[in-house]
Symmetry: C2
Subunit: 270 residues, 2 copies
């Protein structure tokens, strides 16, 4: 098996780089095209209709670049837009929500599961539905944490402010008896430290980026689309706003320069 | 004098409602059309090129509605886009930056002036330039406060987290000897309490919304465009994303229901 076509992956901004990194580790033979919709970031405070339009444009931009599979590396887009778009996409497509939900169901002993995410993700109820489908009878508690994305983007991840913010949001789980918490936004792994501190060591954290990378590997294998070269082609990064800030934050995050990085206009892609 | 055409006013989101309110108080006989670009909010983390494109689309959307004057009620748009767009706009146009800068120059005794704003506004250096033009020899210190907008949008304006965030950002002014601080973002008046607390009572705060309303009145008078009816027509609110959240936050903010509120698509307006 050696399908040399790239995998497409997109997010509203830089959060999806957590998925990019996990995927690169899991499937080192694959080339990845990454699209960050930085001209319209964030998605988490926008409506289903608007997020669906943006998601469609991102997907079609990547499809025109001959991708063999698509990973929607944004929880908000996965929750709000993916169900409606799946049928119109001609390649195997995966969101980050389903793999995170499945992993939480496997890990939880009590079936009492917490989910944190953007306002739009939590309001959609998509995690609750996904978890109930896999494990009926489980109890799901969703809490929106709107400030976590701006904190992560600001690079404030281990200080007093972020500790207080985490305590304030996560105190909503007090008395709920959860044993597992899904980090339902690709930015949140950057705040793992303060989240763990606020919750205590007994609660397991599910990183949807890791779960999605595993699931992507299974999906490609099932469709016989894997590329088993030792090293895949260089990744290509596309952004919809000026690339300077993305290059700075992104290289800090990945620990390497961004290589090929290009600004593009995706408005009206369909 | 009685020109019944409306005044157009736009912002990236709800922040401009501080200007809307100040303008309504100052000019009760005028009808105002308000546009919030909520599908692409915020502007403060985006590039000059992208903010200019968005600003042009907002302006032309309102121009097609027969406005007699335009108020750019967003500091980021005023700083990054307005200088380039002024010449192509066929009606008297005003940003919030110039009036705020002018008021700070009048109020400051020492000529040592602080400015806080979004990352894009501060990086542009537009306040520094404007202040130096009015009062050469003054010293201007700019500090970006990226978390203030999400805090205001979240309604966290008077608690411990926001106090700490304000202290952390504003400690950059320690030892600078400023006597005046420009709130260079229309969201920031919502955080006046914690900002004042962090700075102490000796420093005067300049609210660019109030300053812009004064300047708009002068501009309309100079162009003989005032409408001196006792009460202007009902305002009309346009948003580019679903209007529900805007209606909730907006009515809480204005203390009244939003009346006519409509979702519109402005992509490609020119």
């Amino acid at each position: 098996m050696a399908d040399p076509r790239p995998i497409g992956l997109f997010d509203s901004g830089i959060g999806g780089l957590t998925v990019f990194r996990a995927l690169g580790r899991r499937l080192p033979g694959e080339q990845i095209l990454y699209l960050g919709d930085t001209a319209r970031v964030p998605y988490g405070n926008k409506s289903r209709e608007t997020v669906t339009r943006y998601t469609r444009e991102c997907a079609h931009f990547l499809l025109r670049r001959q991708i063999k599979a698509l990973v929607v590396a944004c929880n908000t887009a996965s929750a709000l837009a993916l169900p409606a778009l799946l049928s119109e996409l001609p390649v195997p497509t995966l969101g980050v929500l389903q793999p995170g939900a499945a992993r939480a169901c496997r890990l939880s002993a009590s079936g009492r599961i917490g989910v944190i995410g953007t306002e739009a993700t939590i309001r959609s109820g998509a995690y609750t539905e996904a978890i109930h489908r896999i494990r009926p009878g489980s109890e799901v508690f969703g809490v929106a944490c709107p400030l976590f994305v701006p904190l992560a983007e600001e690079g404030w991840t281990e200080g007093e402010v972020e500790r207080l913010v985490a305590q304030r949001y996560l105190s909503a789980f007090d008395g709920k008896g959860i044993d597992t918490l899904v980090l339902g936004c690709t930015h949140y792994p950057l705040l793992k430290g303060v989240i763990r501190e606020a919750l205590g060591p007994a609660i397991q954290l599910v990183d949807s980026a890791e779960a999605a990378a595993e699931e992507a590997a299974r999906l490609l294998e099932a469709h016989e689309l894997l590329d088993d070269r030792e090293r895949g082609g260089e990744p290509h990064f596309y952004v919809t706003d000026s690339s300077q800030r993305f290059a700075e934050v992104g290289s800090r995050f990945l620990g390497t320069s961004m290589g090929r990085l290009e600004q593009v206009d995706i408005t009206g892609e369909s």
